[in-house]
């Protein structure tokens, strides 16, 4: 109730919430999803494989 009333009575806050929601959508639904995969998590299945991959990178880089 406290929050509902607060949101209902907002004036400038409405624009701000619109900005926050649009921003979060762009960040998580577009940028994170399509451009920023976690490379080690997506490319390897286990921590041992990830450690091996990083070791190889750091030896031969």
């Amino acid at each position: 109730m406290f929050y509902v009333e607060g949101f209902r009575n907002m004036t400038i806050g409405r624009s701000l919430w619109a900005i926050i929601l649009i921003k979060l959508f762009i960040m998580f639904a577009v940028i994170k999803l399509f451009f920023f995969p976690n490379k080690l998590s997506s490319d390897y299945d286990s921590d041992e494989q990830r450690a091996d991959a990083v070791r190889t990178e750091l030896i031969y880089k």
Binding site: F2, S15, I20, F36, K39, V54, L58
Partner: protein, 522 residues
């Protein structure tokens, strides 16, 4: 190699862009949250409704900044996982713990009480509301604490042990990580510089109101409070800056040498007050480092060591491992050539470890691990081909440091002037030149704040983790094109956010200036 450098440079540019935009919002949130809490404290203590109006005015501006800035830092975490995966894995546990605490404790504390702060007027008691406002301010600062603990670990890695099997640094002493002396100085320096920035913001907006002859009483009250808050913040920033300089001299002497454009150090080393670097100067040559300089005798020795007769090493000294003891003896230890040899030995041992692991030879693995550990202190130097690669960009570090110091000096004088005018020459508060001085100080304080971070982050190059990992080893196997694309996406997104914030703020200030700020709506 060229593609690697392209990826490294674009990834660095992207990280710098993201971090710098993030830092446009953060210090204002840190400082303004405390100022709003002080204003509300005055209201609760005095019961003066005018202060309630003033509090609500600045609280709304805080809210606009909070909304536009919130979550901009999350993009840095996206970049860690994609562009800097070697780094992320290498430091995972240590970097992860402070960031997790930040997310769980500080962020939720801040997010919970910010709602009471904005929606709780007339719904909770005055004291409860005031408590929520203070807890929001404390939560904001606690968020900064854990981020800066993580950052400080990169500048001074302590409290961990490297495990070649996991290829990670594993935290073995949380207290050392959390109370890292670099972290403590960095935290207080960043927080108090946020106070200064918020104070100048309040002074600038109040000056604009005075110039428009609107809400003069509220603007004068805000300007006076801003000047006091800024002065306290500036004194504390200077104090913690002094502590930071001592820490930099201790753990990152190369950064200090770059900040000063110092190649050959001396006992009783002077500090360059104003100077022009010789752009052709390289480590090891006999050219003059400065084309022009006005120096403060003994200044750098005092700044770095609190001892006017101490030795401060320059870039050539550090490369040679040369220092001068308190007794005046010249001694040598761990030259960069030796560090590079140790780093390459550590990498070679890591290769043997990897081969032994593939062959299932545990005895050989143990022997290789012992060799890795024996040389791990200088692991990162194994990626360098020459000592010169360990020298940060001197020009950018040197000039950024001076921009920060000069802008800080100007702001200190501004606070003193405004307090003098507020108490002794109140007629000056009607002068346009004073109003414009306040207004033009707004960009100055942001430039000062950004310059400070440039000194801290460019000055530590080539390291992402001091001595252990250079930037080029931290990078993932990603293409230059993908980083370029996301760089421009971020540039557009963040610029839009900034434009939205400035536009909403200006409209709000303009609209509110036509009303009586001191008579808040019920």
């Amino acid at each position: 190699m060229n593609d690697l450098l392209g990826v490294v440079d674009w990834s660095r540019a992207q990280f710098a862009l993201t971090a710098m935009y993030h830092w446009l919002f953060v210090p204002l949130t840190i400082g303004l949250s405390v100022m709003v809490a002080i204003m509300e404290s005055i209201y609760v203590k005095t019961g003066d409704e005018k202060w309630k109006g003033i509090t609500k005015f600045w609280m709304t501006l805080f809210g606009i900044n909070f909304a536009c800035g919130v979550a901009t830092g999350i993009i840095l975490e996206f970049e860690f996982g994609t562009n800097w995966s070697n780094y992320s894995w290498f430091v995972g546990d240590i970097f992860g713990a402070p960031l997790a605490i930040e997310g769980i404790v500080a962020f939720f504390m801040e997010a919970t009480f910010v709602a009471v702060m904005f929606f709780g007027w007339n719904k909770v008691s005055r004291r409860f509301h005031l408590t929520a406002t203070w807890l929001t301010a404390i939560g904001v600062s606690l968020s900064a604490l854990w981020i800066l603990v993580a950052n400080a670990w990169m500048q001074n890695p302590v409290g961990m042990a490297f495990d070649p099997a996991q290829m990670r640094n594993v935290m073995d002493n949380f207290t050392e990580v959390a109370f890292n002396s670099v972290a403590m100085n960095k935290f207080f320096h960043a927080v108090f510089s946020g106070w200064v920035l918020a104070a100048v913001f309040v002074i600038g907006v109040s000056s604009w109101l005075l110039w428009r002859k609107s809400n003069i009483d509220a603007a004068r009250k805000s300007l006076k409070l801003g000047s006091w808050f800024g002065l306290v913040g500036m004194v504390m920033t200077l104090w913690t800056g002094d502590g930071s300089a001592v820490e930099v001299a201790r753990v990152q002497p190369m950064k200090l040498a770059a900040m000063e454009g110092l190649y050959d150090g001396e006992v009783g080393q002077s500090l360059v007050g104003v100077g022009v670097l010789n752009p052709d100067k390289k480590p090891g040559d006999d050219k003059d480092a400065m084309l022009f300089e006005i120096s403060i005798p003994y200044g750098l020795s005092i700044l770095a060591n609190h001892d006017a007769n101490s030795f401060v090493p320059g870039i050539n000294d550090i490369i040679a491992g040369r220092t001068v003891t308190a007794d005046g003896d010249t001694v040598y230890s761990d030259s960069y050539a030796e560090r590079i040899a140790a780093g390459k030995a550590a990498r070679e041992a890591l290769k043997r470890y990897s081969e032994a692991k593939a062959a299932g030879n545990e005895e050989a693995m143990a022997a290789a691990q012992a060799d890795v550990m024996a040389n791990f202190k200088y692991f990162g130097y194994g990626y360098l081909d020459s000592a010169e690669e360990a020298v940060p960009p001197v020009g950018l570090t040197f000039y950024s440091f001076r921009v920060m110091v000069m802008a800080g000096g100007y702001l200190l004088l501004l606070f003193i002037l405004l307090l003098f005018v507020s108490y002794r020459k109140t007629a000056f508060l009607e002068k346009s030149w004073l109003h414009w001085l306040g207004i033009i100080s707004i960009p100055v304080v942001w430039i000062c704040s950004q310059a400070g971070w440039i000194v801290a982050e460019v000055g530590r190059q080539p390291w992402v983790i001091q001595d252990l990992m250079p930037t080029r080893a931290a990078i993932s196997d990603v293409t230059t094109g993908s980083v370029q694309l996301t760089f421009w996406i971020f540039a557009v997104l963040f610029t839009t956010m900034l434009a939205a914030e400035i536009s909403i703020m200006l409209r709000y200030i303009s609209r509110t200036s036509k009303k009586n700020i001191e008579q808040p709506e019920k």
